[in-house]
Each structure stands twice: as C-alpha cells, then as structure tokens.
C-alpha cells in the first residue's frame, strides 16, 4: 500500500477537525472536532509504525504504543472537557463558546451574597456527580 493513502486521509481528517474547532459554537461540537483531530494523528502514527516495522530490523513499536497513549489521553481529555463544559453550563446557562467572554465567575450578580448565587445548587450537583461517576 502506498503510504500516501493513510497519510492523505489523515491530513484531510485533521483539517476537517480544524474547521470544526474554528467554526462551531457549541462547546461539545468543538470537543467532537478535537476528537477528529486526535484520530487523524492516530491514523498517522499507525501508518508510519506499520511502515517502519517492516522497513527496519528492530523497532520498539513506538507508533502503536503512542497511539494507545493518545487514545487514553483523549479519553481523559473528553472526561475533563465535558466536566468543564457542564460546570460552565450550570454556572452561565449556556455552552455557547462565543458568549463565554469573561474569565471571572458570577459576572451577573453583584448583590449581597452574589458569589454564592453564581454557584450551583445541591440537587443538580449531586446528579452531575452521579453521572460523572457513571460515565467515567
């Protein structure tokens, strides 16, 4: 197999993910596009590992080991990313990254006890915790 096939497919998938990251507004769609980019990198790693395993005498299978590591890190990234997106959605009421322009929490409240209002209540937090544990 010519190595151009997997490498070109990997490039196109990466640029598709790049378009998604730049053009999407929903944070979860951005996370999906990041997954596409990571998968493009994985395909590249596997293709070059298969090539170098047959071309070289002694290899460490570093491409496939790195692919497994990338998959694991992508799983960790998607867990942390979704937890952050859900926390932002509970605090601000939106997951639209074009509207998340300030870095401080509790931007809409300035009365007494204002910082507490921006935080979330107990019942949704318990539900989120259960779901996070269930999905993690």
């Amino acid at each position: 197999m010519h190595i151009a096939y997997p490498v070109v497919l990997s490039s196109l998938l990466f640029c598709t993910g790049l378009y998604g990251v730049l053009a999407r507004r929903n944070a979860i769609l951005v996370l999906m596009s990041v997954e596409l980019m990571l998968n493009a990198v994985n395909l590249n790693l596997v293709a070059f590992d298969v090539w170098l395993t047959k071309a070289a005498e002694e290899t460490l299978h570093s491409g496939q080991a790195l692919t497994l590591f990338t998959i694991t890190i992508a799983a960790a990234e998607i867990g942390i990313g979704l937890a952050i997106v859900l926390a932002v959605h509970r605090n601000r009421g939106t997951a639209d990254i074009d509207k998340l322009r300030d870095t401080a929490e509790g931007h809409e409240t300035d009365g007494p006890g204002g910082p507490d209002e921006a935080t979330v209540t107990t019942e949704p937090a318990a539900g989120q915790t259960e779901k996070a544990e269930a999905t993690a």
């Binding site: 490498v7 730049l22 053009a23 997954e35 496939q64 590591f69 942390i80 935080t119």
Partner: protein
C-alpha cells in the same frame, strides 16, 4: 479525496524514471487493499465532513460514530488489529456515549439549531482548506516513493503490541494509568461542589424553579429561609 488523488497522480508522474524503475509497484494499478482503504476512507471523510457541518447536534455525534468506526476499519486494513479494537471499545463505545450525555445535560436542542456554526465560518473554511492543501502537498511530495509492506505477519497483532508495550513501554504505561486516575478524580471534583458552597442561600429556590432569576425573591421570603435553615441543620 479526488483532488488529493489527482495531486498524488501528478506527483507520481513527476517521479524520475530511475526511481520508477526501482519500484515495481505502480500507483495507477492499486491493489485490493488500497481500493478498500480508499473506499472506507471516503466514507470516513464524508462522515467527518457531515459531523462538522450538520446543524443537528445529536446527528453530529452519530456521524462521529461512523467516522470513528471507519477509522477502526482503516486500522484493520493496516494490520493493526489491537488498535482497531481499542478504537471501537473506547471511541465508539465510551467517548461518543459521553458526548451524547454531554449534549443531553447541556440541554442541546433536538432538531435543527440555527446557531450551530459561528459567524467566522468562512474564515475557518479558508484556514482549513489552506491547511489541507499544504499538508497534502507536503506529505505526498515527501513520501511519493514510500510503500507499506502489508504482507507477512501482522505488524500490530495483539501479541506484538502487548510484547512491545510491556517490554519497552512499561514506565510510560504506568504513568499513563496514573494520569487516567487523576483525570477521573479531576472530573469528579469538577462536577461536584465543595461543602462551603453547597450551603448557599439559593438551595430552595433553585431546586424549585431551576432558574436563578427568582433567587432574590426567595431570599426575602421567611418560609424559604426557615426551610433552608432546617435543611442546613439536617445536613
């Protein structure tokens, strides 16, 4: 992909005759594996395009399943079977389910959402097309005489992958397990509240209405405050 194929064909036609004579394999006579790779690659790329362009959020996650499953088939065609099954297990099995949970918990609209794409869509399209053209040109030009030998024993069988992983990559593997544990604990910590914040005055009103607009009313309400005090005492 057809543009890329044209670029590849142009690159191969400009190959010097000496190199073309050395390589007995030609680009214009693809093998069965290459044809299968091309077809599955077209499906994968199309599913990825639909994933980043559709306006229905749940459909984007479902087309992501097609794209990731197509990539698993590509791994199988590259004889990396262990990676393929890990891909199916982790990506198709858990990551997409996690994304669907995220869509559900952030109250994503079912059906077409008109604001799925941001205003700088055309700038993003320009950047992506330029990056794709540059990447495809560079990699095709760099690897025009490189061939993967897929014959013989599989390069990515479970035996080979496991041996290399546990002979040469043990320490990174264990460090990665610690990283995964850290990410798990971090996700739990991020999605629960600390004890001091959980006794905020907005417990009752937020639990009843689900919106923060009625918080000042309930704070002045005596019954609401009493009930909240009881709840704190019970805690």
């Amino acid at each position: 992909m057809s543009l890329a194929a044209a670029a590849v064909a142009a690159a191969t036609t400009t190959t010097p005759p000496a190199l073309a004579a050395v390589e007995t394999r030609g680009f214009l006579s693809p093998t069965g594996v290459e044809i299968a790779f091309l077809l599955v690659g077209l499906v994968t790329f199309g599913a990825a395009i639909v994933t980043v362009t559709t306006r229905q959020l749940v459909h984007a996650a479902l087309w992501l399943v097609v794209a990731l499953g197509g990539l698993a088939v590509e791994y199988l065609l590259l004889t990396a079977e262990f990676i393929a099954w890990v891909q199916v297990l982790i990506y198709v099995g858990s990551v997409v389910v996690l994304l669907l949970f995220g869509l559900m918990l952030t109250k994503a609209p079912i059906g077409r959402s008109p604001d799925a794409d941001s205003g700088n869509r055309w700038a993003a399209l320009t950047v992506a097309v330029a990056a794709a053209a540059a990447l495809v040109w560079v990699v095709v030009d760099a690897f025009r005489t490189t061939w993967i030998d897929l014959d013989g024993p599989a390069a990515g069988s479970t035996k080979a992958t496991g041996e290399s992983l546990f002979q040469n990559w043990v320490l990174p593997f264990e460090a990665l397990s610690v990283l995964l544990l850290t990410a798990l604990v971090g996700a739990i910590v991020l999605s629960r509240k600390t004890k001091t914040e959980s006794s905020s005055p907005s417990v009752n009103s937020r639990g009843a209405t689900g919106s923060s607009s009625s918080v000042p009313d309930s704070r002045n309400h005596p019954i609401g405050r009493k009930g909240q005090a009881e709840q704190e005492g019970a805690r």
